[in-house]
Each structure stands twice: as structure tokens, then as C-alpha cells.
């Protein structure tokens, strides 16, 4: 049995406390009205006003204008940036309003990105766990309890995330512009999508998905624990079927989830492989988390039967899935870049112009770094190499979610400051607390799994 070390527990509480204060600070310092925005803009625009203006209207074009005129507006903004000095008061107020919305969105988006990221990481672990069950993998059963521990964050994260979605629906923020009836009234493209993008349908879908995943998590763990005390393999077979059904449900719900919670932030834009892309991102993060938690528990002497070969296998998955993520990232980017159709390409123009470093930095962190580090077989057996690669991969995929969500909600007003870091710390603390509490509640080795003996003696 694992006992939650008091140091780690204190650490998680400290993270949560700091995070909570930081989140509160983020909301407190967000501007309340246009006047404050004017002051902020005046403060940081010494001589860069024209540039600021250009960015402002470029971004406005991306999020609020009717689709057809997006490119026009963009070009116009670029060529006539000098003329902007004599812009009318109306335009100025509109601009301030726009920046106000962005700045008000900032603490919300920071919270949203961190919340969805940690929830999806535990979902990624759940999917990996289900695949291991269905594939009857002979190496991984010694890690099942670790995976169950990590996935126990899912119901908690899902509940918090659902609350966040409801707050969006209650107009506490402007993250999803299609939730704003005024925008829908003037935006034909969004109006055409209201059959799908309307609050009741959207929130019901979210409820179904989050409950479905959490139910699988709950029953799978329950059956696995009961299997320890059983005399036959009935519960194992039950879990096998349950996992197979979950995977079918998951792949459908995952796809829809990615449209609902991430793609609809940019409701003018669509991409067909988006679901897979999101999946690859949190799946590799999930496997990385398994590796990190396993290495931690192993270093504390709790996982007797986990050897180098298990770690090596996890590292291979980290490596392979990182490449898989890159493949999808590039496929999505290259197809849109190559055809350069205005209605699709604005998505990447925003990201390349305003989010240049995070956008390409994510590729370096999620592809180049793991590619060069984890390609070596010997390195895949060295703990500190995996921990280092794992931390870079996790930060890279946080950045990936940041890139998916922020440009549509805060535009060029982004930064990685107090709100963002505090949100990460809060959810990290919560994640550590929930996961390690769950780990301390059941033995770390499944007793009567049919593949457990093979798994104990696994070597590669």
C-alpha cells in the first residue's frame, strides 16, 4: 500500500493556495470598463500606437467580422495603418470595447486552458488504460493501479470543467462568442450553425461525455479491485467488454468534444482532422504522466515489479506519440497553408503573426526535443532523461492547448503571466492531491489479473 507522503500533500496544498490567490488576482486586475482599457493602452503604447491599432483590427477581423470580409479587412488594416491616426471616435470606441473583451477574457481563458488540459491528461491515461485492457497487453498490468490513480482525477476535473462551461453559458465571459445572442444576430455564419451551436444542446452533450467517461473510470476501477478478491476471471472479462465499449464511445465523443470545447472558440473556422489532433495532444501527455508518476512511485520504493523495461516501453510510447502529434499538427497546418483559402487560413495567420513563439515553440518542445532525446534506447531506460523529456513534453502540450484556445479569446492581448501560471499551479496541486490520495486507497499491484505474472517478469 502507498501512503501519501505528508511533504507531497503539503506541496499540493501550497500549489493550490498560490494558484487560487493568483487566479483571484487575475480576475481582480482585469479591467472593468473602457476607461481602464484606455489607461492600459496609453501606458504601454509609447510610439507603438499604430502597430497596436493594426494588431487590434487584424484580430478583430478574425473573431468578430463576418467571414467574407475577413481578408479584405486584414489587408486594409495593413495598408492603411498610417491613416489610422485620423480614425473616427466610433472606431476608437469599438477598438477599446474589443480590447476590453479580450482583457476580461484573459483570466477566464487561463483558467479554461489549465482546467481542460489537466482533465484531458487524465482522460488520455484512461484511454491508454482501456487500450491496454482490450489489447491484453502482457507488459502493463503492473501499471494498472498507477493508471487508475491518475484517472481518478477525471471525475473531479470533469465536474470543475462542467461548472466552467455553465459559467460561459451564463455570460460571465466572452470566450465563446456564439454564446452571445448579439453576435449571433449580426453574424450570418454563426447564425447558420445555431442548430448545432446552441447552449442547451452544447451543455447536454458536455454532460453526456463527461458522465460517460467518469462512469467507465468508476466501474473499471471497481471491477479491477473486486477481481483481486474473486475466484474466477468473470470481472476481468467484464472489464474487457466495458473497455471495448468505452473506446467506441470515446472516439465518437472525443471528436465532438474537440469541436464543442475547442474549435467552437473560433466559430468561423473548421478543420476535419481537428479531433485527432486534439486527441494526439492529450494522449501523449497522458502517457507521459503515467511515466512520471511511475518513476516517482518507483523512486520511493513502492513499485517492486516495475523494471527498466516497463519504463522503456512507456518512453517508446512517449516518443512515438510525440511524432504522431507532429504528424497531425503538420498535416493540418500544411494543408491549410498550401491551399491558402482565406476562410481557413486566418486561423494560422493569427497564430503565426501574434503567437509566433508559442506556435513554433510548441513544435520544438513536442517534436524536436523528444525526437532527439528519446530516439536512443539507452536513454529510454534512464530515469532523469525521461523525467526531463516528460516535463518538456507536458509543458509543450500545455502550450499547444494555449495556442488552440487563446488566439480566439484574447487575441494579441496574450501573455503567460500571473493568471496563466496561477491556473496551472492550482490545477497541478489539485491533480497531485487527487491522484496520490487515490493511489493510497488501493494496493499498487493488481492480484488476480490474468496477465499479472507475465507483466511482473516482463523484460525487453
Amino acid at each position: 500500500m502507498y501512503t501519501f507522503s505528508s511533504k507531497l500533500k503539503t506541496f499540493s496544498f501550497v500549489l493550490m493556495a498560490i494558484g487560487f490567490l493568483g487566479i483571484g488576482y487575475g480576475f481582480y486586475t482585469a479591467p472593468k470598463d473602457i476607461k481602464e482599457v484606455e489607461e492600459i493602452l496609453a501606458a504601454d503604447s509609447h510610439g507603438t500606437h499604430a502597430v497596436k491599432k493594426e494588431h487590434g483590427s487584424t484580430n478583430e477581423a478574425n473573431s468578430h467580422e463576418v467571414h467574407g470580409s475577413t481578408e479584405e479587412k486584414h489587408v486594409e488594416a495593413k495598408t492603411s495603418s498610417q491613416k489610422h491616426e485620423v480614425s473616427s471616435d466610433d472606431e476608437h470606441t469599438e477598438h477599446l470595447n474589443h480590447v476590453l473583451h479580450q482583457l476580461q477574457n484573459k483570466p477566464w481563458s487561463a483558467l479554461y486552458v489549465a482546467c481542460i488540459f489537466f482533465m484531458l491528461v487524465s482522460l488520455g491515461v484512461l484511454v491508454f488504460y482501456a487500450i491496454q485492457q482490450v489489447a491484453q497487453a502482457g507488459w502493463s498490468p503492473v501499471l494498472f493501479r498507477v493508471m487508475q490513480g491518475i484517472t481518478s482525477y477525471l471525475p473531479v476535473g470533469a465536474a470543475l470543467f462542467f461548472v466552467l462551461l455553465i459559467l460561459c453559458g451564463l455570460h460571465f465571459n466572452h470566450m465563446f462568442i456564439w454564446l452571445d445572442p448579439e453576435v449571433v444576430a449580426t453574424d450570418k455564419l454563426i447564425a447558420n450553425k445555431t442548430g448545432y451551436l446552441n447552449f442547451p444542446f452544447w451543455i447536454v452533450r458536455a454532460a453526456i461525455f463527461l458522465t460517460g467517461w467518469s462512469l467507465y473510470q468508476y466501474y473499471s476501477r471497481k471491477n479491477c479491485l473486486a477481481q483481486d478478491e474473486a475466484n474466477d476471471d468473470l470481472l476481468y472479462k467484464k472489464n474487457f467488454k466495458l473497455s471495448a465499449m468505452f473506446l467506441v464511445f470515446f472516439i465518437v465523443s472525443e471528436s465532438i468534444m474537440s469541436w464543442d470545447w475547442i474549435m467552437s472558440i473560433d466559430p468561423h473556422w473548421f478543420s476535419t482532422l481537428f479531433g485527432w489532433y486534439v486527441f494526439a495532444s492529450f494522449f501523449v501527455s497522458g502517457v507521459t504522466t503515467i511515466a512520471l508518476v511511475t518513476l516517482y512511485l518507483k523512486s520511493r520504493g513502492y513499485l517492486e515489479f516495475v523494471n527498466n523495461s516497463h519504463i522503456h516501453d512507456l518512453a517508446k510510447f512517449m516518443f512515438g506519440l510525440s511524432v504522431f502529434w507532429t504528424y497531425l499538427w503538420f498535416s493540418q497546418f500544411m494543408l491549410i497553408w498550401y491551399a491558402n483559402i482565406p476562410e481557413e487560413v486566418t486561423y494560422f495567420i493569427t497564430r503565426i503573426q501574434l503567437y509566433n513563439l508559442p506556435f513554433f515553440g510548441a513544435v520544438v518542445m513536442n517534436f524536436l526535443f523528444p525526437l532527439l532525446i528519446l530516439i536512443n534506447t539507452d536513454f529510454k531506460r534512464i530515469s532523469w532523461v525521461i523525467v526531463m523529456a516528460g516535463i518538456v513534453i507536458l509543458m509543450g502540450h500545455y502550450l499547444d492547448f494555449f495556442n488552440m484556445i487563446m488566439p480566439g479569446t484574447v487575441g494579441d492581448s496574450w501573455s503567460i503571466g500571473v493568471s496563466e501560471i496561477a491556473s496551472i499551479l492550482f490545477f497541478l496541486g489539485l491533480f497531485i492531491y487527487v491522484v496520490f490520495t487515490a493511489l493510497s486507497k488501493s494496493p499498487l499491484l493488481a492480484k488476480r489479473n490474468p496477465f499479472i505474472e507475465e507483466s511482473k517478469h516482463f523484460h525487453y
Binding site: F330, F333, M334, W337, Y338, N340, I375, T377
Partner: protein, 174 residues
């Protein structure tokens, strides 16, 4: 001086593995082991150094990506930078996404083919190569261990008969 070797023939890979370990423990130098299929862990038991083919492949891949980059940079950007369907040919980086599929394929192509050729050269394999099979049964269901003899013929023969060999032969190699 005659160059005598012992052929110890086995019909089971488990017995072979035990024999290899015993031979190594007795400090007899194993010249070669012939087997109809890969025996897991045989290289470790024989104490053979790990292969460096993977390192070769990585370096060949680096060559491949360099060739692809240099080629396309010269052709598409330096030599004749045409406007083809509005693609930006001003610098390599601007048009790079279009080159990535070729960069990828050439990396894989160079890594795979040059590594295979390296393998052939290092293991001396080619189409009209004369087979070096000491006993035809070793390609079907028998395993053969070859050990050099230095004036200790009788001792070696009895040693190998004790390791479970189905047949122990002393052969005069030229």
C-alpha cells in the same frame, strides 16, 4: 600445423544456450554458432558486442535530410525562383512546408537503404556469395557450435559430449 575445429551439434535451442554458457564458463573460445532461426539472448550469452547499425542509420538519415534540403534550396530558391501558383520562393523557410514531405521521404530513404547496404557489407552478403554452411541440417532443425582445438582434442570432445550435444565432430579446416 593442422587447423582443427570441433563441431558440437545440438537439436534444441535451450540445450544450445546452456552449452554456450558452459563453454564460456570453461573459457573455450567459441568461433561461431550456426542456427536455423534467431535464438533470443544468444548474442548476450556469447558475449557479442551490441550492433551499431542503428547509429549508422541515424547518421544516414542526417545525410538524407541534408541532401533534400540542399537540393530543393538550390533548385527552387537559388537557381530558378519562379512564382508557381503564388508559393513564396524568396527564401527556403518561407516555402518550407511544401518541401517537408520530400525531406521526410529522403531521410527515411537514405536511412533505410544505406543501413541495409551497410548490413550486407558488414555481414558479407551478396548474390553470388558462396554459402558458408558447415552442415546442411543447421538451416533446418539443428544448431552447431564451432570451437577451435589446441592440442586438447580429447578433453574438448568429452566436454562437449557432456553438454548435451547429439553429435561431436572434429574437422580439419584448411
Amino acid at each position: 600445423m593442422s587447423n582443427k575445429v570441433i563441431y558440437a551439434i545440438y537439436n534444441d535451442d535451450d540445450i544450445l544456450m546452456d552449452a554456450v554458457k558452459k563453454t564460456r564458463a570453461a573459457h573455450h573460445h567459441i568461433e561461431e554458432v550456426f542456427s536455423p532461426f534467431p535464438v533470443h539472448g544468444l548474442d548476450k550469452a556469447m558475449g557479442i558486442a551490441p550492433t551499431r547499425l542503428a547509429i549508422c542509420a541515424f547518421l544516414y538519415g542526417c545525410v538524407g535530410i541534408s541532401v533534400a534540403t540542399a537540393m530543393m534550396n538550390y533548385i527552387m530558391i537559388q537557381d530558378w525562383p519562379q512564382d508557381i501558383g503564388g508559393k513564396p520562393s524568396f527564401s527556403y523557410i518561407e516555402n518550407m512546408p511544401a518541401f517537408v514531405p520530400i525531406m521526410f521521404e529522403l531521410t527515411v530513404f537514405f536511412a533505410a537503404h544505406l543501413m541495409v547496404i551497410t548490413f550486407y557489407m558488414r555481414s558479407k552478403l551478396w548474390p553470388f556469395k558462396e554459402a558458408e554452411n558447415p552442415d546442411v541440417r543447421t538451416t533446418d532443425d539443428h544448431f552447431l557450435m564451432e570451437v577451435a582445438v589446441h592440442d586438447n582434442e580429447e578433453e574438448l570432445v568429452s566436454f562437449f559430449q557432456n553438454t548435451g550435444a547429439v553429435e561431436v565432430k572434429v574437422i580439419d579446416k584448411h
